[in-house]
């Protein structure tokens, strides 16, 4: 099976994630959309790894997973600390640096 189908799925998921980052207001949901984009990239990496017959793409996907796990920890900590001070998880409410 040609990798095009897998790549189309990956790009669909990436598009959904990107649109979600733009549309949603809840910081946690925005964060989940970022995760979806990272997952879509992983799928593309795995597909290209299979296309080329080398495991380098899988190693890349592995590192992306590690970075994503670290990013989730720090990002959720930021969201929790923002929620503590602003009592809201909406990205619109964190606007103190605007003026």
């Amino acid at each position: 099976m040609s990798p095009t189908a897998y790549l189309v799925v990956a790009s669909l998921l990436f598009t959904l994630g990107a649109a979600g980052v733009l549309i949603r207001r809840n910081a946690i949901v925005v964060f989940m959309c970022v995760e979806l984009m990272l997952n879509a990239c992983n799928l593309a990496f795995v597909s290209f790894s299979r296309l080329n017959g080398s495991l380098d793409g899988q190693v890349m996907a592995f590192f992306v997973m590690v970075v994503a796990a670290a990013e989730v920890v720090v990002g959720l900590a930021i969201i929790v600390s923002i929620f503590r001070t602003r009592r809201s998880a909406s990205v619109d409410d964190a606007n103190l640096l605007k003026y």
Binding site: M1, S2, P3, T4, Y6, L7, V8, V9, S11, L12, L13, F14, T15, L16, G17, A19, L22, I23, R24, N26, I28, V29, M32, C33, E35, N39, N42, L43, V46, S47, S49, R50, L51, N52, G53, S54, L55, D56, Q58, V59, A61, F62, F63, M65, V66, A68, A69, A70, E71, V72, V73, V74, L76, A77, V80, S81, S88, A89, S90, D92
Partner: protein, 258 residues
């Protein structure tokens, strides 16, 4: 080949459905669960393409750890924290939808036009080692060793960063044990509060425990459940227990003058 195609056409629409529903759900918890569905299906897609290790890691790390962390923080922040419908920038939602649609069409169009040829496949390279895990480990610990070691710095930074970010500064002085014990004695109930459900018909936490005279002890219910309708089984208060409590009271009442 047909088997893979069949599996693909089952799994891939489910993954995309999870993504769409994550975008469309009003409640953040629903979004998280739909994303978990997408991630599980992505794991199947990885395994179908020969990335067995990554498929398992996807389920364990992403669906197991990361999504549960998300749900944990959702519960911490408040489950009812749904999206506000107020648009800070007018027309931003529509613009975002149009931009997303255009981006997706461009991306898919470009990928659809590219000449990929047929896949070489990773079965040969997996078989050259003892399997997918060994082949990946050989790459990670030889060619990508430096990146792998950098990763440890990243992980420790993330751990320290999370601790620093969530640490709360103490505003007031910490109470000593003596102060706390004096406070408790002054509060009128130095002993621990009665547990819910003691001698009652239920052992649920919202069922008050019964005092020796058969009346429900309101303090035995956690304050957080104050809004919950307290289920006191009707026969408990008017039935046998109540009667026996009354009987006990009359007994003691008769006993006193004698």
């Amino acid at each position: 080949m047909t088997g893979e195609k069949l599996a693909f056409w089952i799994v891939a629409p489910l993954a995309v459905l999870g993504g769409v529903m994550m975008l469309a759900s009003r409640k953040a918890v629903h979004s998280a669960l739909w994303l978990a569905l997408t991630m599980c299906n992505l794991a199947i897609l990885y395994i179908m393409q020969g990335a067995v290790f990554l498929g398992v890691v996807q389920v364990v790390v992403y669906t197991g750890a990361v999504m549960m962390l998300f749900l944990f923080v959702l519960m911490l922040v408040g489950v009812d924290a749904s999206d506000s419908l107020v648009e800070t920038l007018r027309g931003q939602r529509v613009a975002a939808l149009v931009a997303g649609l255009g981006f997706g069409i461009l991306l898919i169009g470009a990928i659809g036009r590219a000449e990929m040829g047929t896949s070489v496949g990773v079965d040969a390279i997996n078989a050259a080692d003892a399997g997918n895990v060994s082949a990946l480990a050989r790459l990670i610990f030889t060619q990508y060793l430096w990146s792998f070691e950098i990763t440890s710095a990243l992980l420790i930074t993330a751990a320290v960063g999370a601790m620093v970010l969530t640490q709360r500064e103490r505003v007031f002085r910490k109470k000593t044990q003596r102060e706390r014990s004096e406070e408790r004695v002054r509060s009128g109930s130095p002993t621990p509060l009665a547990a819910p459900g003691v001698y009652a018909r239920h052992n649920a936490v919202d069922t008050p425990g019964l005092l020796p005279d058969g009346s429900p002890a309101e303090v035995s219910i956690p304050a957080a459940l104050g809004e919950v309708r307290r289920i006191v089984p009707a026969p408990l208060l008017t039935g046998r227990t109540g009667v026996s409590a009354d009987a006990a009271r009359t007994d003691s009442g008769e006993g006193d003058p004698a």
